[in-house]
Amino acid sequence: MKRLRYLGKRFLLAVPVVWLGTSFTWFAVFMGPIDPAAALVSDADPTASDKYQSIRTKLGLDQPPLQQYIDFMTDMAVFDLGRTWVVYSGTNVNTLVLDFLPQTLWLGFWSVLIAVFVGVPLGFYAGTRSNTLADYLTSFSGISWRAMPNFWLAAVVLSLLINSEALFGIEWELLGVRTGAITGNPGLGYMADNPLNLFLQPGNTLAAVKKVAPAALVLGSASMGNEIRIGRTAVMEVKNEQYIDFARAKGVSGGRLVWKHVFRNALVPLVPIITTEAFLLVGGSVLVESVFGISGMGSLFLRAAIEGDIPVLGTLMYVFILMLVGINLFQDVLYTLIDPRIGLEGDA
């Protein structure tokens, strides 16, 4: 019950955060120094054209600011994201998001998975063998992953794959499941009719995974470094806890001690980095999706930015804020599952 109340409180706290974030976005887009309508018209003197006036009317820019603000917030609250102007001109943004979101989710899912399933074990490994050569090498690799710029890593990985035949003797496209080009969208269409096809058609799933694997690796690289680092510290700290000594004195030893008492507790400090990772993923997706040619939310955002489709920029920002706050809440749920102390000591 206490945990439910804790979750409820976290949910309530998320509301003002979304509201403030969205308001800030609205202000930057509609009250900022750039006239969004003028940015959409590519004429030399945009304000003179008829198109400019019609866009102003459609965007509601001739309304008083307060009215504009209320309209915008209401539209966002009911998920009426409006239409695009330049990017895929005239499309409904809702449709566009539904088209682009699956690729981003697919990419994000695998990058988290790669980061967690490589980073956490490596970190725990380094922590259990602290101050050995293996530990130093692992920790240093973690630090390097954190320090490498995503876009650079993406470019390097891409060209390694392009030259895979010359470098490794086997072409990446032919390795395992055959895929067309190295870059481009993962084929997720086979799941459109029946999401269970994820399991029913393993060939298609494998191809889709292979397609995003390099991008996911790059996108997850920084998170992986974080996990190595924090996992290592967590294990080293838990190892020094008195309950570990107490368990040893009880006669618990070997793998049982490490798995039951050390690793389970070391997972707790790893939970909050999920949010951190979500930020890295959302930010990184812009760069990684552009390099690997994946039509996801990030590349959509970048196109809107470069082509000056500022109203779309604002609505996409709202979608991203919702995603991040959602992940934050998911983290809280996970927290309560892993750490029974949550909700017991008042505010955590």
Partner: protein, 352 residues
């Protein structure tokens, strides 16, 4: 009090030395510590913080980790030298209760889970039988509503209850020797008394031997049969409890006793020992207590004292009792007076 224990001791610590290495120095946490524990008796270990009491407890349990290392000496438990055979077989036969009850239980598992873990290892109990036994153990340490509490997490327990749960977990190992490392220090005074009573009852019921570690002379006078006084990694005096309190030999012991409120009658003011326990970072050349000792004399600075047997199973490591050195003050003259304390302060000031 049980009998003084004749024949082979259950646990025999001999000449135990433990060293901690840091980048810059080696710290002799224990330096030639020896004592025995017989079946069913309670042995006390007293000293200020930093005197090596907890390191002794950890050594007996085999919990000394890097950068610490047992350098020499032996820990014989039922005839086996644990420093050679390893602790694996003795685990459970020797159980420990730590000072801080909140740190002893893993916060992410229920109390019942952690008791059952010990039951599985040491009594081959699993499933319902283990659960029943866990509830019985919780009841036996005085936790009310044990069936309802067995699935609670440690953080849902109060400090005193947690310590009871820790004791229950220790008992689940079916131990012969219970090492209590300041088990009441972190608790409120009323709870302290309850826990001490509980330990006393358990000891009689289960016929446990207990090594009771504390800095509190008052507590030790209530529970211990025999007492070892530690200072800076050494045992400086050992004596039966009654004798230690009636006729302390080592100046350090006298100082400790003098600092208990209400022990000596007629004392207008409480005495203290000035200064702190020195960090023993090199092998001793003289007596480690010399700098704070009100009775120190010339030889103390360069002769390391050995234990001298005194009457009534008492011994002290002090040159005052060593016949090779002329003792300026005869032993047993009573407690150090105010003048002596001042001299200690003076010695101390010069050290600064």
């Amino acid at each position: 009090m049980s009998d003084q224990g004749s024949g082979e001791p259950m646990l025999s610590v001999e000449d135990l030395s433990v060293v901690f290495r840091t980048d810059k120095e080696r710290i002799h946490a224990l330096d030639g510590v020896s004592f025995d524990i017989h079946e069913g008796e309670t042995v006390g270990l007293v000293g200020e913080s930093g005197s090596g009491k907890s390191v002794t407890a950890r050594s007996i349990l085999g919990l000394v980790d890097d950068p610490g290392r047992i350098e020499s000496g032996s820990i014989r438990f039922r005839g086996e030298d644990l420093t050679e055979t390893g602790w694996m077989d003795a685990r459970g036969d020797i159980a420990i209760v730590f000072q801080d009850p909140s740190g002893s239980l893993n916060p992410v598992y229920t109390v019942g889970n952690q008791i059952r873990e010990a039951l599985r290892i040491h009594q081959d109990l699993t499933g319902r039988a283990a659960r029943r036994e866990a509830i019985r153990l919780l009841e036996s340490v005085g936790i009310s509503d044990a069936p309802g509490r067995v699935d609670a997490y440690p953080d849902e327990f109060s400090g005193g209850m947690r310590q009871r749960a820790v004791i229950a977990t220790a008992l689940a190992c079916d131990p012969d020797l219970l090492v209590c490392d300041e088990p009441t220090t972190a608790l409120d005074v009323t709870i302290q008394a309850q826990i001490l009573d509980l330990l006393d009852d358990l000891q009689r019921e289960e016929d446990l031997a207990v090594l009771f570690i504390t800095h509190d002379m008052g507590v030790i006078s209530e529970v211990a049969d025999r007492v070892n006084v530690m200072y800076a990694g050494e045992v400086v005096e050992r004596a039966p409890a009654g004798r230690l309190f009636s006729d302390p030999a080592h100046p350090y012991t006298r100082g400790l006793l003098a600092s208990i409120p209400g022990v000596h009658e007629g004392g207008e003011r409480l005495l203290t020992i000035d200064g702190e326990v020195p960090t023993p970072n090199e092998a001793p050349t003289g007596c480690r207590f010399a700098a704070r000792c009100p009775k120190a004399f010339g030889a103390c600075d360069h002769t390391h004292p050995d234990h001298v047997a005194l009457d009534g199973d008492q011994s002290a490591a002090c040159l005052l009792f060593d016949e090779d050195h002329s003792a300026p003050v005869s032993p047993g003259t009573g407690l150090p007076g105010p003048a002596d304390t001042d001299s200690a302060a003076r010695t101390d000031g010069g050290e600064e």
